[in-house]
Symmetry: D2
């Protein structure tokens, strides 16, 4: 009986506008900012699933630190571009979840990425995925 | 008997190197980053005075939020420039302290600024300047 | 005959959601990020006035660097808060324009600020406000 | 005759101090900032090899955009921590170079990462690694 299982790729889409602050002197979005966008996509995905991530931290003292992140940059993005972020829950394990991301702009796929997260308590100790979260994520399966 | 008093302009100097991330598509340092540099200068000034700001937060649960900040930009600064930050304690009131900043680069004064801070406890309530901090700051008078 | 004149306080409103990245370990939005929000408000204000700031840079090689910025912080703002930015054009001089900002959250005025800008060409030399921009800004008068 | 070859892991070490701005409300360094640190390490590695990356952009109009980046987070890092970055050139291909990174703090390996870069001209078109850069990098082999 596998602990991990593949889940259907239900996704959520978020539109953002590129900030001047997010550019660098190469005239394009600085590469670390894609990870900031991934975080926005996660928050909005959770909200769409009925899960309030802020409340999870504030009320339940449960946190989702990132244990791994990667991004593949295919085409650069510029100031004031309208960017469409697509986030998918790609796997749920006993204590970890994985997201995949697409960054689209002007009808082109500009970047892809992934993040892996654990669940920890306020002391930073790993915990299993809370039942309420597991239930919500099953909607995304 | 005045609560506020002018204090001698003892200063502290910190050198930093401009990060690529700090630039924008105008090819110069993005304006909000000067406030990040002010924060670095404050931390190092405190350290030079023998005051561990991190410890103040962690151990004493005392925080110094910014209540006002301003910056006047005179000359732009570029990637990889070596920047010299000069911070001065400009005034100490009952519950507030003010810092002034100079941002120098290539022998030129590129920006000036100020910040005003209150002291608050972990509940965010204003508190008088703690005795240990007042004592340390008196060195800077 | 005064070069400067007061202009009617026509304003523009922009809603944003606070990013996790914008918080710091005090649990609130880091102070420099308010200046990033001011920039977002300016861009959207220009767009609402029919002025494409990106195009101004790309096509006309005209830039609006900040020469002064300030912010007064009244009440802290947290992750995932919905923030309403109000930007007003407060003065137009021969070669400079000034904006004022309000940062509102949860029905409270949390911060106020201002920025002053010059117009420069691609060589960084000051230029008068271009006619097309002056015309657009007169709508905001 | 292989285009790619493994190169000896000559490395460069850079010390930085964690900025308050780099933390988030979890009380640790926000995950995207590790990629900013990687960029600092690259710049300083180039400088140590006698290669001025700023000059490469300014004079030669040669740029090194990131085409892939990843980071594995093992242990969190806090405000004011002294962080030691170790960067290694891990492979040199015809038109791409790869770096590997270690992020150490308090005697612990806190994160590892990699970036892959292409060389492009001012039009953004891919170019072979310039001879002067290839020569410098051969020092690092």
């Amino acid at each position: 009986m596998p602990v991990e299982r593949d889940i259907a790729m239900q996704s959520h889409t978020v539109d953002i506008r590129v900030r001047y602050q997010e550019t660098d002197q190469m005239g394009v979005v600085y590469y670390a900012n894609y990870l900031v966008w991934f975080e926005i996509a996660r928050t909005e995905f959770f909200r769409a699933l009925g899960l309030d991530y802020r409340g999870l931290e504030e009320t339940r003292k449960i946190y989702l630190p990132v244990v791994e992140a990667s991004c593949r940059y295919r085409s650069s993005i510029r100031y004031d571009d309208k960017v469409t972020l697509i986030v998918k829950l790609s796997s749920v394990k006993k204590a970890r979840i994985n997201f995949e991301y697409e960054v689209n702009c002007g009808g082109r796929l500009c970047a892809t990425g992934m993040t892996e997260h654990t669940f920890v308590n306020s002391a930073g100790a790993p915990i299993p995925i809370p039942a309420e979260v597991r239930k919500v994520l099953s909607i995304a399966v």
